[in-house]
């Protein structure tokens, strides 16, 4: 790389980028209200993480503090970087499939779903309807599991230790279903390119229906502990606010975007798998604060149950595996396919050079992009809000760092 950026870009006919950049810097500057600037304060730099109880893994946040007030943050990420995209280039399409489970390891099914669908599109094939239904059921179960884990850890960050155990108790039931279906609990590798590897086991439908009946009162139980709890409401309402315009600007997706009032869900906007066959609502919030994100996720859990109940009664008969070549050599070309993962838009951009190995696999991780909005959300808040906001963005470091 040449050192002199100016000389390298001299030939570029860029309109007026300099002024644009100034606009950006201006926009990025902290809210410059007079009463919020501390000129005479001794600033304190607090290094939060990578070993910290509530950075959800190995996130490191450098906080610039004035007393307890956050003046700015900087996220240092990459401690869990495993080079997933480079690995993909050195594996065949099939061999890479299990790797995607290791990104968002609490929602491995969604990762696999996105990858399999992307490769299927590139191969120009489609999974049979039965497989699509199984995929939807498992993906929604996984969304529930992911939201439950989020709720438990988020409540733990805010100091309520008990919901963690309740959510883990109920998440266990989902993992049992996964285990019975494919033998794995966390990194399931449940789907294959072209459909599903496994037929549903005997009593799968009954298990799922039983689980739906079991879990509805449990979700209400979490709500009795938190929703109207005075301390919970005080800790979450008005904390980490991000407006709809800002959320879109930051590329934030998933429940965080919906809590800001943008009614956008890829399952509705660009239906994939069998989602167009089901009725469900997109819960949205109004204020874009931590409390709304909590309410939105709770409502999403109920919607997931609705989808599961519709799907499980209507699984069509038929094969579970489409016509897939033994040696997968997609034609030269590229594809971007994204799904609504529990944390937001999970996209795969795959470039094929016609060989058995992908030429390039780019994962568009929702956590990574959402985490970028952390600075915007916590500026001017207190240290305690930082952990609340990190929790509410719902990051998984395996996905942030890949």
């Amino acid at each position: 790389m040449a050192d002199d950026t100016k000389s390298r870009t001299a030939h570029l006919d860029l309109d007026t980028p300099e002024s644009q950049i100034e606009t950006y810097m201006h926009r990025r500057a902290a809210p410059a209200r007079e009463e919020e600037t501390y000129l005479d304060a001794n600033e304190l730099v607090l290094n939060m993480g990578p070993q910290h109880p509530s950075t959800h893994g190995v996130l490191r946040v450098i906080l610039k503090l004035d007393g307890e007030k956050v003046l700015g943050t900087e996220c240092i990420i990459g401690y869990l970087h495993r080079g997933v995209e480079k690995i993909a280039e050195n594996r065949t399409y099939t061999m890479f499939n299990p790797y995607v489970d290791r990104m968002d390891y609490v929602a491995a099914v969604s990762n696999g779903l996105g990858y399999c669908e992307a490769v299927e599109k590139l191969l120009n094939i489609e999974a049979p309807p039965r497989a699509q239904y199984i995929r939807v059921i498992l993906a929604e179960l996984n969304r529930l599991a992911s939201h439950m884990l989020w709720l438990g850890t988020h409540a733990l960050d805010i100091g309520a230790i008990t919901p963690l155990f309740y959510t883990f108790r109920d998440r266990e039931e989902i993992l049992k279903i996964f285990e019975k279906y494919c033998g794995a609990r966390l990194t399931t590798h449940a789907f294959r390119i072209g459909g599903c590897q496994y037929e549903t086991y005997e009593g799968f439908e009954q298990d799922v229906i039983k689980f739906c009946k079991f879990v509805r009162p449990k979700i209400d139980e979490y709500e009795t502990l938190l929703t109207t709890n005075r301390i919970w409401v005080e800790r979450t309402r008005g904390v980490g606010v991000i407006s709809a315009a800002d959320a879109i600007d930051f590329g934030v997706t998933g429940p965080v975007l919906r809590a800001s009032g943008v009614k956008w869900d890829l399952r509705k906007a660009q239906p994939y798998a069998a989602y167009k066959n089901f009725e469900f609502d997109i819960p949205i919030g109004q204020n874009g604060d931590t409390y709304d994100r909590y309410i939105v996720r709770i409502a999403e859990m109920h919607q997931s149950l609705r989808i599961i109940e519709q799907a499980v009664g209507a699984i069509p008969e038929g094969p579970i595996m489409g016509k897939v070549p033994k040696v997968m050599k997609p034609p030269v070309g590229e594809i971007y396919h994204s799904i609504e993962a529990p944390k937001g838009e999970l996209g795969y951009f795959i470039v094929s050079d016609g060989s058995t190995q992908p030429y390039r696999v780019r994962v568009r991780p929702p956590s990574f992009v959402n985490l970028q909005a952390l600075d915007k959300m916590v500026r001017g808040a207190l240290v305690a809000d930082v952990v609340a906001v990190i929790g509410t963005i719902d990051i998984v470091l395996g996905e942030v760092d890949r």
């Binding site: 290094n47 109880p53 100091g159 230790i161 309740y166 709890n229 005080e234 800790r235 240290v383």
Partner: protein, 418 residues
């Protein structure tokens, strides 16, 4: 020797009579008793919290984890004692000592019975307030001496929190003291023993006196004491998810265990104060409503009955233990423990012991209600944020405390007392 034993029939505390031998014995008993209570609390908190959270808690060390606190204490003692290289060594060393000393010193004035206190100071309440607020000094020293950011923030939080809630606590305490003037002779007192005796004379706990103002004062104290002891939902100074461990982040091993000991001792101390000021101290429930020898005899069986109940529970646990060779030792241990409990129950039926244990039993029973509430809070509430805690303290607790104080002070002047 006879003179030494004669003290048992004395009507005064050893501190007042200058009986140093007995004062020392009392101090040792209290120190030992608190330590045992802390160990028991440690086990109870884990078990109760675990059952609230649909899990079992300690089950491995001893039957139902009964020996877990002892194992933990041993572990802490043999753990490497780490002092950060940049720490202020003297202050780092002194901080836990100060915290422990202040937490235990409060017990000097706490009356477990009419004569069961180390001493009866005529400024008992002032002494209590003064000493317990010294504890924050140790916490600030710990935070400062660690020379690290998390402890510093924890110490700052702790100091501002304690200062704020000390005021609300003081308001509540003063209103209780004012209530002592409502006795027939109209003499108020700051002595802890005489405060209880005032409740006895007025035939009513101060909790129900001038309802709801007595209750309000108690309520303020009950909240302030949770904040004062840095427990959930006011555990900001050691907020695990924010400040890692707050002021004792850099402490380990025995020093850390001193902080732990002090925290639980302080919890017991403030609960004891609340019991003394509002809940009639050593008085048994309904001591005037259900008076008479029959009722006295009935209530005198409570200590023994409690231990028999525990004996039955432990026995049931022994019987329900899995029938497997691996559980043999555990089963024997729990059975032995049940027998010990039963033995204590029998001991409490022997007349001289039975009579003398009454006061202490009721006092401890009331304190344990508070201790259970502490665990309950911890299992239920999320944590307050710093500014919200301050807001609650300054904008709600202190104004309400002052209002209660004004009413309690002014009403008797108009001969309007209920």
């Amino acid at each position: 020797m006879q003179q030494f034993l004669n003290y048992l029939n004395s009507t005064q505390t050893p501190g007042e009579t200058g009986n140093f031998a007995w004062a020392t014995i009392y101090i040792l008993i209290i120190f030992g008793g608190i330590s045992v209570a802390v160990i028991a609390m440690n086990w109870l908190e884990r078990k109760v919290l675990a059952h609230m959270q649909v899990r079992l808690g300690p089950m491995r060390v001893g039957p139902h984890g009964l020996l877990q606190p002892i194992a933990d204490a041993l572990k802490l003692l043999i753990k490497e004692d780490i002092m950060p290289a940049e720490a202020d060594r003297l202050m780092f060393w002194m901080a836990p000592v100060i915290v422990v000393i202040t937490a235990f010193t409060v017990f000097i004035v706490i009356p477990f019975g009419p004569t069961h206190a180390v001493t009866d100071m005529n400024i008992g309440v002032l002494f209590m307030l003064g000493v317990s607020s010294l504890g924050v000094l140790g916490i600030i020293m710990a935070g400062w001496a660690s020379n690290s950011h998390y402890p510093l923030l924890g110490a700052l939080r702790s100091s501002s929190q304690m200062v704020s809630y000390e005021i609300a606590m003081g308001m509540a305490v003063i209103s209780a003291i004012l209530m002592t003037t409502l006795t027939a002779d109209g003499a108020g007192t700051l002595s802890m023993i005489q405060i209880v005796q005032a409740q006895d004379k007025q035939q009513m706990w101060f909790l129900f006196r001038m309802f709801p103002f007595g209750f309000l004062a108690f309520f303020i104290f009950a909240i302030a004491m949770v904040a004062e002891t840095n427990r959930a939902p006011f555990d900001l100074p050691e907020a695990e998810s924010e400040l890692v461990a707050g002021f004792h982040t850099e402490y380990s091993g025995f020093r850390w265990s001193l902080f732990f000991l002090a925290e639980y001792a302080a919890m017991l101390a403030v609960s004891s104060i609340a019991v003394t000021l509002w809940m009639g101290g050593w008085m048994r429930p309904f001591s005037h409503w259900l008076a008479g020898d029959t009722w006295d005899a009935f209530f005198s069986f409570f200590p023994a009955a409690t231990f028999f109940l525990l004996f039955v529970v432990a026995l049931a646990g022994t019987v329900r233990m899995p029938k497997h060779a691996a559980f043999k030792i555990q089963k024997a241990g729990l059975g032995a423990f049940a027998l010990v409990l039963g033995g204590i129950g029998v001991l409490l039926l022997i007349p001289p012991v039975k009579d003398r244990i009454q006061d202490i039993y009721w006092f401890v029973a009331k304190v344990s209600v508070f201790m259970y509430a502490y665990i309950w809070y911890r299992g239920t509430f999320p944590r307050y944020r710093f500014d919200q805690l301050m807001k609650l303290g300054w904008k709600v607790m202190i104004p309400v405390g002052i209002a209660v104080l004004i009413v309690v002070a002014a009403a008797p002047a108009f001969n309007f007392v209920w």
